[in-house]
Amino acid sequence: MLISGLLVGLALGFVMQRGRFCVTGAFRDVWVTRNTRWLTAFLVVVAVQSVGIFALDAAGVITLQAEAFPWLATIVGGFIFGFAIVLAGGCATGTYYRAGEGLVGSWLALISYALFAAIMKTGPLTGFNTSMRSVTVEQSNFYSVLGISPWLLVAVLVAAVALAVRHHLAKPKFAMAALPASKTGLAHLLFEKPWNAFATAVVIGLIATVAWPLSWATGREDGLGITTPSSKLVSYLVTGDAELVDWGVYLVIGILLGSFIAAKGSGEFRVRVPDAATAVKSLGGGALMGIGAALAGGCTIGNAMVQTAQFTFQGWTALVFMILGTGVAAKLTIMNRRPAPAAAPRIPVGV
């Protein structure tokens, strides 16, 4: 049932838009504001999904596979991808959901990202991508190398993430200004109320878990993924080969539609055209995202959220290098950005 991909995508796009779930922001905040609130929320998704998929694996619903670790491509690609998402103003899913909010800059980034992913996966750069990804080590994940049960790692991850969440929730309560409510009941909850970051993360973790058996049932033996489906969508559009339209392609179309529904329903949709500089950054960032994600074997979802939940070396290496790439780009484009010409002299402020 390919249509289940569309439904999962709809749910994911909706929840990400309403929850303001931005992985780029999560990685960026670590450097720019030294805040780990959203990174913690991101790791909640990984932890929830990790429990879910090892349970599904134990139950025989899915079978997690071990593949050789393409360390070189993962390091290089992860870093490029992390750098690129700052330029593009969103990671792959972030770009899909912002495109659904009507941001033309994200439309440009999305088209460029999908095109370059296709160029790397099935186009003229396939040889380069394949040779980079052929530099591998056989060991693929932490638990097989350590010779321990994956459940031990699941327990450690869940405990560490629980402590981090407790740290953030234990912060002194402050009253945060809120917009006046204009809706009531379910409409208020779905289309108006600000969603808690950690609650949003749990919901995304559950969606990511459910994605596995649903995708598996259609013959696509994987969880959430964005880059390969985006590449296949481009290939389908230019070849008309309907064989390419798998569960993942429905998923990414669903994300776009789900975020559009969420944004439209909450009065947050408007076609917004960026200035020239932002447009160029979006296009360039999108291209580098496609190249980086293809090399690394996935984006912030496929690698940093889905591979990590399986405790693969590829997933965690990609996550670390994406955060590093994000840091370098944030340093160059946000923290060291030229001050506005008319601005008065500034004194440093603590954050």
């Binding site: 303001r20 931005c22 945060m176 200004a177 009065g267 408007r270 960026p274 506005a340 601005a343």
Partner: protein
């Protein structure tokens, strides 16, 4: 006591917040900064920054589809 308006419509996150922080440093205590923005994530990021910095928010409203205004007072 002065009121300064910062127009950030069209700039994507995190720039509305980055610019707001910069503008805030040029104000004196009691001044108000009116920030116009159209980046969805800032509906969370800006009031959170104001609350964490101890700046009162004297107005927070939606001006139209995907368009907001928030007034933060320097404390």
């Amino acid at each position: 006591m002065a009121q300064v308006t910062l127009e950030t419509n069209g700039s994507v996150c995190p720039f509305p917040l980055v610019e707001a922080k910069e503008a805030m440093t040029t104000l004196t205590s009691g001044d108000e900064l009116v920030i116009h923005f159209d980046c969805t994530q800032a509906t969370d990021a800006i009031p959170r920054w104001a609350a964490e910095s101890g700046y009162p928010v004297t107005d927070f409203s939606k001006r139209g589809p995907a368009e907001w205004s928030i007034t933060v007072q320097k404390a």
